[in-house]
């Protein structure tokens, strides 16, 4: 059972604030899911390695370091919730900023 304290810590880590109704429902369902996945404790994995990729012949892939088309500033800013002077606008981060 996930405690309310654990839930609040988790919500903070996730940057998700919840309404009281949401909190009750999420706490209940997270407890259900964590209860279910606990079945993995019954699986003997011994010294099996962890799976880092499903690709059978993984390679390190790095593109050639050549200049190409990049996203234009205007196109990028068209999706920004707020912008000014060609930059994304956010509320002041430090006290006294405008």
């Amino acid at each position: 059972m996930m405690t309310e304290e654990e839930f609040l810590k988790l919500a903070k880590l996730c940057r998700i604030s919840c309404t009281p109704e949401e909190k009750t429902a999420l706490l209940k369902s997270l407890t259900q899911v964590l209860g279910y996945v606990a079945e993995l404790n019954t699986c003997d994995t011994g010294s099996l390695p962890t799976c880092n990729t499903v690709l059978e012949n993984p390679r390190t892939i790095v593109r050639d370091d050549t200049p190409g088309d990049v996203l234009s500033r205007d196109l990028f800013l068209a999706n920004a919730p707020a912008h000014t002077g060609g930059m994304v606008r956010v509320p002041p981060v430090l006290k006294g900023e405008q």
Binding site: Y36, L55, P81
Partner: protein
């Protein structure tokens, strides 16, 4: 025209018996007439499609070479980017987001002259098995409007099942192409991991996600794979392989193929579902295949492994939605912290929040070894068990879904919903190609699917076996009565 396969539409266009403009007009007219009932589409690219159709007609008239999907109307799940168009991912967070580039799949479809009709509904960020978690609308199963079409590619599945388009594309992280295909009586194919570029697909579980086709006919899925199954420089997991002649390989004989049946993984099947599955297996026997029993008991852990790994990856992937650079920014937010917290609170639905929280939990200090590391070890075990099974067979058969389509709103317990994907998730965990094909109907008249899984890079064999099954069983020709009219 709505009854035609993608290949047939293309061929009629090639011959000049159908104009691209006529195809585009008829498609839009049918969607306008029928989609109120099923709710498959979130957006339509009417003007863009008509312009492209006119250009294609001119191209054909001028005798220029035409693409493999020339004049074929296709729909895209709304988590695949089309430059300049909305990509909402079924989320309030991205309700106004316009893609700033084409997904590789979009580019390849455009290059092969497909007509992109619009975007289809999905569970928010592809997280769900019913399409009920879309922030915008419900999609209904064309076979029974009270039922879900499955998910998360429920919009693409409903569009194809209702014959609004002959071909659509979805993404499959744990069964999101194959389960809705089964529940709506169509074909859905998840390629080998890395066979299709994920560039321009909004990421959910990056080690599991794969784009694939949904169609009435297996041959159309094979044709689509010839178009999208290409190497891409912008996806580090894209396999550097040439395209394969999937269509040509469909008709190679099936006789002698060994089909594995993991009975020790199918112990939960009820009597009726088991009898139906055995009927499907008999089709393969009649085609000259041999059935062999394989041990895949370890797959019973697949759901747990998946819901640890997929949520861990999702919590990381969705951290980018912070309300700063794009997407929803809360109007209540006065500080930087409030932008993060309130924008995510308002922008995400309950299933997405649940998965982000679960993923963050299993990755957090103190729990990582018990959950994430353990799940990665069991994933290795599952991969090894598949490899052992494929030593005695070429493909593995199971049902696609434990049930037929369920009523909208009926499943409230998340674990019960997650179990919908019990037979489809293993292929994602091991990166294997897998398909769902229509195998008939349950006693209530709702479609059921047969699921075939192959070893990595044996996509062509999976498609070939599905094709022979389809041609013998014939269920791909069944059209939902509510939509079987011009």
């Amino acid at each position: 025209m709505y009854q035609l396969s993608a290949t047939a539409v293309r061929d009629l266009f090639f011959k000049g018996e159908l104009l691209a403009e006529t195809i585009a007009e008829a498609t839009l007219k049918r969607i306008a007439h029928c989609d109120q009932k099923t709710g498959a589409f979130l957006s339509l690219f009417s003007e863009r499609m008509m312009d492209k159709a006119k250009k294609l007609d001119a191209k054909r008239k001028a005798g220029k070479p035409l693409g493999k999907l020339a004049a074929v109307p296709v729909a895209l799940k709304d988590n695949i980017h089309v430059f300049g168009e909305l990509t909402t991912c079924g989320s309030h967070f991205l309700s106004n987001y316009r893609a700033v580039f084409d997904a590789t799949v979009t580019r390849l479809l455009e290059e092969e002259d497909a007509l992109i009709v619009g975007k289809t509904n999905l569970d928010e960020f592809a997280m769900g098995s019913s399409t009920e978690h879309s922030a915008f609308q419900l999609t209904k199963n064309p076979w029974n409007l009270a039922c879900s079409p499955g998910g998360s590619s429920g919009g693409s599945a409903a569009a194809v099942a209702a014959r609004l388009t002959p071909l659509a594309f979805g993404s499959d992280t744990g069964g999101s192409i194959r389960q809705p295909a089964a529940l709506t009586g169509i074909t859905g194919f998840k390629p080998t991991y890395g066979r299709v570029s994920r560039f321009g697909l909004v990421a959910f579980g990056s080690s599991l996600d794969q784009i694939g086709p949904l169609s009435h006919h297996v041959a159309d899925a094979a044709l689509a794979m010839e178009v999208i199954g290409k190497h891409c420089l912008y996806d580090a997991t894209s396999l550097s392989l040439p395209s394969e002649p999937f269509v040509q390989k469909l008709t190679l004989p099936l006789k002698g193929m060994k089909i594995g049946v993991p009975w020790n993984f199918l112990t939960q099947l009820d009597t009726s579902a088991k009898a139906h599955f055995e009927g499907s297996l008999k089709v393969f026997k009649d085609l000259g295949c041999t059935l062999v029993e394989v041990d895949l008991g370890a797959l019973k852990y697949a759901i747990s492994v998946y819901y640890i790994l997929a949520t861990a990856e999702a919590s990381t992937n969705l951290a980018r939605f912070d309300g700063i650079r794009y997407g929803n920014r809360s109007k209540r937010a006065a500080t930087l912290d409030e932008i993060y917290d309130f924008s995510r609170e308002e922008g995400f639905g309950s299933e997405v929040k649940r998965r982000i929280m679960l993923g963050t939990y299993v990755l957090s200090a103190g729990y990582q070894d018990a959950y994430y590391k353990k799940a990665q070890q069991v994933r290795t075990l599952i991969i090894e068990r598949f490899k052992a099974a494929f030593k005695s067979c070429q493909l593995i058969a199971t049902p696609t879904s434990p049930t037929s389509a369920f009523e909208i709103g009926k499943i409230q317990n998340p674990v019960e919903m997650y179990l919908q994907d019990i037979y489809t998730i293993p292929a994602n965990l091991a990166g294997l190609p897998a398909i769902s094909i229509p195998s008939g109907f349950c006693p209530q008249g709702k479609p059921l699917g047969l699921h075939l899984t192959g070893p990595q890079l044996h996509d062509a064999e999976v498609l070939r076996a599905a094709y022979h099954f389809e041609q013998t069983a014939g269920f791909h020709q069944k059209i939902p009565p509510l939509f079987n009219h011009g």
